[in-house]
Subunit: 409 residues, 2 copies
């Protein structure tokens, strides 16, 4: 065996792809390196570079002006060139969290060749790292720990409503394969431009559920993460449209034959006929971020007897037929009799939990504030969580962590 | 809905991560662009670059000298700077195939920011693209086509022999979830430094099987892709060791409590107790590349009644106890009585197919040639396929395509 290993080791370095990569990857540089004091050191081998920067959400954000007004953009820090063409930067001490970053070499965004961990958000990749200080902290919850792991499957199901076979991600908790028990189901929806891969990559959903279930803080549950773009069968590259470059609009055109909301029962029907699930609204939860929060808002309203738990994360709350309306979202809600009837039916069915969360600087803050005013005016009960920050995955991971612990109890 | 979409569209560009990436990704550049004549155009926005190159297996290889003697390395081509800081290169017409490439900007390896499709091989990422000319050609077989798709699951199983829970990838063919039928099983093993993700990423195993099954060229089968590193629970980042930088040695140390070969029945036992499988050796096949070919060689020999189909792809064929032996592999095989007994037992069980494939320039060519001499001298029947090229994924995808069509018929 030793002989085989050593021969193969030689071979690896002899092979073009490895030789080439080893040569330009900065060899055995460690980057990022999370230090004991919570600072993080970044290193990049860039002997010919004039300027090397790192940008990411671990740095204090910068204000930028946008079509939507002033918003926040990730901060930027300069790396310094040390000997041998290696550039370095060490951050301030960081709180436990999953952070993203990229390098900029003379203005070009550059993924860290020493870090194989990265996430795609639409067409953008960033490297990621986790700062973890103690068991149960935010970083620990997003880490793969030595606990029983659920299985994660890419599952094709039939959607008669959308007239296509579609791909979704299904998490079955540890013990599902061994046991005979039935489980409640959380339907977890992504945002605009995302797909069925987003919650298990950017969202760390499998790690969050593994860790919360192992510690007894969340009930064992099946988590179903469908594709929320009714014109797409699957994530980019996973269906017959080919290896197209995803863009925000590639998820919106051509127009679908039905809406996500209209087709949602196809998903529930598939899950309940193919998995050992506990049925009935008390065993079903739905939540989502941004567009997926809008979907959760609309789906729970369209099917008031389907879900006992509804979570709206930074939600895009708009009335389906309100495109031409005037006035504030609150005016529209108050002036729409159909909306009023649907909301009366939804809260008439007495959902156990209607949970709304948003960040203080989220561009959807006002419409959510208007919606809460409407709920207050009608006396419809809900729980509300307001956090720092804006329309970002960091908040959505926190919201999933909080919401999932409230389910099926 | 329109209003929600447009608001969200604005928001996306307002958010730091997207704004930042959009700014530096070269905007809407198309790269790579596969042209109608089979040439491929690469584009990169690099206004400050002095030299931009592209390297990959679509270019004529260069000879390099290595510890193993002269070997091939991917070729390199220069991009030319056009207006607006966009650099371009157009290749010669390419045959249908899946190709990999990376850019080099002033000597630094640089992933194509216009191409979200990439694969990891140990610690190296490369972009990929597919050239496809006609239905059924090599590029078509590796593409996601409009055919029924199997499900791909990341499954945790218990290995009592290795004393750990371990992760494997399981492909269930289209129809498995809907039907009640039982299926034969192919055990598909990766090479040194790889993991349970390799065959579904670099190897395009799900696409190859989807397409061959849909066209009737391969029987519907379950494909089990375990992790072949007995010291690892799972792929890098998927177990409690954390987000370590994978290296060839990280897959080899610390020493495992048992070998992959010894623990293999744990995998078969799990699969046969958790999936609707057809049992018995005529319904089991095993194959693998490089180290995984060595595993297939050793496992089929250790358990002569387990598999009717054995495939050795560019295999690392070494005798377990031969580290201190002198002479050629053939001398060692002829002088090892235990090996002789095991081989007699293996071929005494009359496997339906013993299939060996290797490329002419593979560094393992000679040991495979010695092994064939041994088989010939004993009159043990096998099929042999010799291809161009060396120890590369292009060959392993071709071997899987050929081998899988010969199974369970």
């Amino acid at each position: 065996m030793k002989r085989m290993i050593s021969l193969l080791a030689c071979a690896l370095f002899a092979l073009g792809i490895f030789a080439q990569q080893a040569l330009f990857s900065g060899g055995e540089l460690v980057s990022p390196q999370v230090n004991d004091d919570g600072t993080v050191t970044f290193r990049l081998f860039a002997p010919k570079a004039v300027k090397v920067e790192v940008t990411g959400d671990f740095l204090p954000p910068m204000k930028i002006s946008t079509p939507m007004g002033e918003m926040e953009s990730p901060g930027v820090a300069q790396l310094k060139e040390e000997k041998n063409g290696v550039w370095t930067y060490t951050s301030q001490p960081l709180e436990p969290e999953l952070y993203y970053y990229t390098f900029r070499v003379d203005g070009m965004t550059f993924l860290d060749p020493s870090n194989v961990y990265m996430c795609r958000d639409i067409a953008s990749y960033t490297n990621i790292f986790i700062v973890e200080k103690a068991a149960g902290d935010t970083g620990d919850l997003y880490s793969v720990n030595d606990v029983p792991h659920g299985n994660v499957s890419k599952v094709w199901y039939d959607s008669p409503t959308l007239k296509m076979h579609r791909r979704m991600t299904v998490y079955t908790p540890a013990g599902y394969e061994e046991g005979r028990g039935r489980y409640p189901v959380l339907y977890l929806l992504h945002g605009a431009g995302g797909d069925e891969d987003a919650w298990t990559t950017l969202g760390r959903a499998a790690q969050i559920l593994d860790n919360l279930i192992a510690s007894g803080k969340a009930k064992p549950m099946i988590v179903v993460m469908p594709n929320g773009n009714p014109n797409c069968e699957a994530a980019p590259g996973e269906w017959s449209r080919g290896m197209y470059k995803p863009s925000f609009m590639s998820h919106q055109s051509p127009a679908p034959v039905a809406s996500m909301e209209e087709s949602f029962p196809d998903i529930v029907n598939y899950v309940e006929s193919h998995y050992r699930v506990l049925k009935g609204k008390k065993n079903r939860a739905i939540c989502g971020l941004s567009m997926g929060g809008g979907h959760s808002f609309a789906i729970s309203k369209m099917y008031p007897d389907m879900f006992d738990y509804v979570g709206l994360f930074s939600s895009a709350i708009f009335l389906g037929a309100s495109n031409d309306r005037q006035g504030s979202a609150l005016d529209q809600m108050n002036s729409d009799p159909q909306f009023g009837r649907e909301m009366a039916a939804l809260f008439g069915a007495h959902p156990k939990l209607y949970w709304i969360a948003i960040g203080k600087t989220d561009f959807l803050y006002q419409v959510n504030a208007d919606y809460r005013k409407y709920l207050n005016s009608k006396g419809y009960p809900y729980e509300y969580v307001e956090t720092e920050g804006g329309h970002i995955w960091r908040n959505w991971r926190i919201y999933l962590t909080q919401f999932s612990q409230k389910l099926f109890k």
